[in-house]
Symmetry: C2
Subunit: 769 residues, 2 copies
């Protein structure tokens, strides 16, 4: 797909109508506002291949799983993000022809995702089978201010046609998830209403019983004058609309403004849904399209002001990072701690569920550094509120006494994935959840969080590790058997270094915080200990014993940590030795072959080193990087960014840049040929990390923010924004200097290349390099 889309700093631009790429473009041009999202489907009928998708945050369905052979402990369901009411639909009839680009001659076609403004625009000329030629211009957005509102202006101009034109704005709940396991439909209709100019549908999901009310209203203008054509009501099961016919002549333009509102059980009690939806819808429509749009654009303006990254001298990279930030901001806004960041956001259905370890390990730092502290805190609270479910999940697997195993995939805290090698064995996810607490507190300084919430989670995690380790009489060490690390090209291994390391670190961090908390507020701690039935001496002694006797596999005579026991038995070949035709391996090799090969999907030893790089000397990092990077095939979208950051840390700017490029435009250029299924939202955060922590060299050490920037030779300059402990600053790096602008009211001490500086409130600081 490379170079199909136009390069532009603020816009994604498609020229020409390519039905073969339609699903890809539907993903890329998706819009959303954290509460709902919409693939870039056409408003009018389209009979060609397409994945229609309207998604509402938090609304899921526990689809009956497909399992070849049931294993004890499997969850009963696989949660699916639900494709919901189609609220964008506007069918157009031109005389006897239905406007359908699959059946028209498309004379011109342009689509623009305006990322600065958060709008999707489309224009085309089409000749229908009967030879009627019209020009259509559409603009649509999902309001960033009023999260339940979406709006569309659909303009049609006749170029050669005289006669009747019918507009059918409608709502449709007769929707099926494409990834439904048994071709079932997941929505029941509860009620519907329709009158001229307005229509409402309330649906309820089967099993989960979520309600979703959708309302629409519309206005029609001819030229600039509002008109009231004859409208017939359409009213059938799961479908309501109006059919409005008017006469059109060549050169005449008609505009239809469609407003829609989506309110769910998350927003409103069932009894008031209809009334509330209508009230919000009508209020929005009264404000009018232009006002809604300008407010929406302002909201985006504020977002960009705090989150933008600029890259000067490389328009393609500039577009790539803005695209990533745009989608991250559309996916999660952090107002509601019941929501999380789905790996595909609102852009597709694959992967189901909403929450993976991706959130804590990759997406969390982006929100932590670029949005209000409340956003990151809500991501933590999400897990805190799922703690009881995580304890129940661990109990299902035979653990007890308050040990928690967070789910691999979840919507509501329950596990809902069921490959045993992932669900039961990718227990490293517990490590990422502890790490996010650590990361949050060091960034925000919000020590209260630890006392009020964090410690309770840490204790439950430590209790899990305590039970999950195993003392090997053979090694005289604690081992962790039967796990899958982040490198999913190994399964059911023993002593995955990363998992052992994260387990060990979690115990240590919990012990430290227990001590620290005792100093801070002994009574509060006492209450927690009592609540958790915590046997201080016994439990902490056991943890310390494990800490002192944990086994970490390594290559003798080197500083290299060994990915897992037995890795050295593998054929010692490198990714460079692979026939390029064989890549990606996951599309060309059988699973067993991948598993027994030495090739690494994402290097988990490097992931662990990345998390705690201040604990390792440079030589150790270098040896491990030099060992693992050549064995890594980066077939996870979460892989290359971490390698890029480490390469930058090691001063290897060229390699860092090459690695950065592997994710920078992953979706825009569809490297992996899977954009049709949706975008890689969580990996987008990895690209941001590669810029800020990689090139920018941003770290926190002992409570001080520091930077060791470098600049890729392909760039003239780059800048990014960072929030840190109540401060907001812009960092601008070019070939000769590093400029800081402290945009907040407080002074801040930072370090640049190990030298301390004071960054005064509302002041700049320029450092020559």
């Amino acid at each position: 797909m490379s170079s199909y889309l136009q390069v532009d700093a603020w816009n994604i631009i498609e020229y020409g109508f390519s039905p073969d790429r339609l699903r890809e473009m539907e993903s890329i041009f998706s819009i959303g506002n954290g509460k709902m999202g919409q693939r870039a489907n056409f408003e009018e009928s389209y009979s060609g291949d397409s994945l229609r998708g309207s998604y509402i945050a938090g609304i899921y369905y526990p689809d009956k799983t497909r399992v070849g052979w049931w294993k004890n402990g499997y969850p009963e369901y696989f949660a699916k993000v639900l494709n919901a009411t189609n609220w964008i639909g506007i069918d157009i009839h031109i005389g006897d022809d239905v406007l359908d680009l699959a059946r028209s001659k498309v004379l011109d076609f342009k689509r623009v995702l305006n990322m600065r403004k958060g709008t999707l625009e489309r224009e085309f000329k089409a000749e229908t089978p009967s030879g009627h030629v019209v020009m259509v211009k559409v603009i649509r957005f999902i309001s960033f201010n009023e999260k339940e509102i979406g709006a569309i202006r659909y303009s049609i101009t006749s170029l050669n046609y005289s006669g009747p034109v019918t507009f059918i704005p409608y709502l449709d709940l007769d929707i099926q998830n494409e990834d439904a396991n048994y071709d079932e439909k997941f929505w029941d209709e509860i009620t519907r209403e329709v009158r001229p100019g307005e229509a409402y549908l309330i649906g309820q999901t089967k099993k989960t019983h979520f309600f979703l009310a959708t309302g629409m209203c519309f206005e029609i203008e001819k030229g600039d004058i509002g008109i009231s054509p004859d409208c017939e009501i359409i009213d059938r099961e799961k479908y309501v609309g109006n059919s409005c016919t008017l006469q059109l002549k060549p050169g005449e333009q008609v505009n239809l403004y469609k407003y829609a509102a989506n309110l769910s059980s998350f927003d409103c009690v069932e009894e008031k849904l209809m009334q509330e939806t209508r009230s919000r819808l009508l209020k929005a429509s009264q404000r009018g399209f232009q006002k809604l749009l300008s407010d929406h654009e302002s909201a985006w303006g504020k977002k960009w002001d705090e989150s933008d990254v600029t890259i000067d001298g490389d328009p393609s990279a500039q577009q790539g990072i803005r695209f990533n930030i745009f989608h991250l901001l559309q996916t999660y806004t952090g107002e509601d701690e019941r929501l999380n960041i789905g790996p595909k956001g609102f852009t597709g259905e694959k992967y189901g569920g909403s929450t993976y370890w991706d959130t804590e390990a990759f997406a969390f730092p982006f929100y932590l550094c670029t949005t209000d502290v409340r956003v990151a805190r809500n991501l933590l609270l999400y897990r805190y509120k799922h703690l009881q479910k995580a304890i129940e999940n661990a109990e299902k697997l035979g653990f007890s006494d308050g040990a928690a195993l967070y789910p691999m995939v979840t919507m509501n805290g329950e596990e809902c994935h069921n490959e045993w090698e992932i669900t039961f064995e990718e227990i490293h996810r517990n490590g990422a959840i502890a790490y996010a607490i650590f990361n949050y507190i060091r960034h925000t300084g919000d020590e209260d969080y630890m006392m009020d919430y964090g410690l309770e989670v840490l204790i439950a995690l430590s209790r899990f590790w305590k039970q999950r380790v195993q003392f090997s009489e053979d090694k005289k060490k604690y081992v962790i058997l039967g796990v899958t690390g982040p490198n999913e090209y190994e399964n059911n291994v023993n002593n995955n270094w990363y998992t052992n390391f994260m387990a060990s670190w979690t115990l240590k961090y919990t012990l430290e915080n227990l001590e620290h908390s005792a100093d801070r507020d002994e009574r509060k701690l006492g209450r927690l200990m009592k609540k958790l039935n915590f046997n201080f001496h016994e439990e902490t002694s056991a943890w310390k014993h494990i800490l002192d006797h944990m086994y970490f596999p390594a290559i003798p005579g080197t500083r290299i940590f060994l990915q897992q026991d037995g890795y050295l038995d593998k054929e010692q070949v490198l990714a460079a030795d692979l026939d390029p035709e064989q890549r990606p391996l996951n599309q060309n090799w059988s699973w067993d072959r991948i598993l027994r090969s030495p090739f690494i999907k994402q290097a988990d030893v490097l992931q662990g080193i990345y998390f705690f790089d201040h604990q390792f000397d440079t030589e150790t990092i270098r040896e491990n990087f030099d060992y693992y990077e050549p064995r890594t095939v980066h077939e996870s979208s979460l892989s290359a960014c971490i390698h890029a950051i480490l390469a930058a840390k090691l001063g290897d700017q060229k390699r860092a840049y090459d690695l950065y490029l592997r994710t920078a435009r992953l979706d825009l250029d569809d490297y992996n040929k899977e954009v049709a299924e949706g975008l890689h939202i969580t990996s987008m955060a990895g690209t941001w990390l590669a810029i800020v922590e990689g090139f920018g060299g941003m770290r926190i050490e002992n409570g001080t923010l520091y930077f060791k920037p470098m600049i890729p030779e392909q760039w003239n300059a780059y800048s990014f924004n960072i929030r840190y402990r109540g401060n907001l600053m812009t960092v601008h790096i070019d070939r000769s200097e590093i400029k800081f602008l402290n945009r907040s009211d407080q002074d801040l001490s930072i370090k640049v290349f190990n030298k301390p500086y004071l960054l005064k409130a509302h002041s700049g600081l320029d450092i020559k390099t």
Copy 2:
């Protein structure tokens, strides 16, 4: 279920009607003849819970798989043994009441599986909702002489009822597999015919396009006199029958004789199916029920004469082993090398497919020792004919140059199972296929088989192992990574001792036979080498290098072979340490917990030692047995028999007997609460092995058959029959002597407790012990 059924030497007897046990009894009382089989469903309507099952050998459907997450290399389908036309159905109306035991008062109920005669008999008295009381006696069998014929005599006597009785003998193809993944039906109707007294249905399976023609005809007698009541034809989609009404008075008896014929694509070309089915059906009905039955009984008499095992002094054990032999003989008769032995035979649908490694590793010796040599040879030819598919299967997994990986589960040579840890990694199955060739030739002396077929298979298997091993630079040995051994409570392990051993033995055996074949017929060998494009020097050198440098894990300082790398890291607890409430583990523990526990489903090290016990000294066997048996939970039905044989070999009669008991009545007493799904056919052969190779101590060494018998103290005597190199002998063991009866025309040298004896043709030999 223990003690529910009556103990009897030749019969399985159920007294009383137990709807809760109906599915179990339907499995246990199944009948079959190798070509077709039938669960013990009632002929008349039954509205309660039941699994109706009529199965035709070789007829399968490639059901779309249920897979949580697709892996490259997975087969597209999971083959299902198809539930086929219900040919036993006879609905009965008594006045306005339908005779239905779920809606009647069942006053008396008895069911007998007569194993000597191969018949299923049932009698009961029932009071219908209107108070009509009838007595019913049914006998049915599936002919062992005419493999397409089944026959039923259904007798009904009125005890208090006067009025009309309607008999509706029918055929029904509107059948669904209970285990269909997507609730689809797999049969299309091709044609149907029905006239008074006769009806025919031809169905075709979807996708596989197998044809199945089923015909039925019937006669009715009142008292002993044939009558011709009014019969109406019933003729609808997938259903044909007659509805015949006659008047009945108290004390009067009516007999309906229903004959059915099933002919499939395996028997006849499509064009002739109808004609041939009708011809065979009418011929059978003309011979009459009694004659068909007596011929059938004679055929069973012959079978028992050659295959029976007697146990004197333990009626329960006697019944158990006869039950097992009965089902083995019903499942596979060896006339058709396109068929094989399904793990559930014709008694249920679970597991799909027909062929597992169970055939070669467990069932093969039973047929080899108790049936004509052609039977075992056909089992080998089945695999020979699938060789090309096995090569293709290996190619799908990345192997080349004629390497073969036989499927884990198959109907037609293609792999049709899809758990990666089994399909892709349980490659040890290749070892069992080589072992069966070895076993066949040493038993039969049929050296030509090696030259004509065996060697070609062995070379393909050796080529596989050559490519599948991996030289570990770390160990300086060849290793085999990423396998699952027969102990499926481990997955994806490195250096499973059993797999490494079978690979190594296969290479050795192939090399020996290449050498031997060169001596026997160099030209024939030359042709084979050419056909296989065999580079003699290069390939055999590589194999020898592997043989000389194969890695076998072991416990240092002991004679114990280690199940796999890393096993010693596991918690060293024993099955005896388990809380009995936790067993069976597979019903109580999550899968990951089982995987990382030390508990063994079936001990594969012991399986390997069992196969080649002459290669190991007694101390080695004892140390390994003493190590693994206490760690084995025997949650495979194929486990305990092997341990019993080894315990017997080690002279531990008590333990051997205890282990024997764990499988002896596995299904009859439903130890595992899963008989409702069907019987464990292949494990039944294990029980036979435990008697003959365990207590009987039968082995072959250097071409000589030898015995080291012992007798469990619970028994007075036992006997079994053995075919060996054209001989048939009966071996009878009691507390004071071992009696041999050579029933063939040739003398045979044997050994008993290491002493040689000559067993004269048609003579006995008594050895005092």
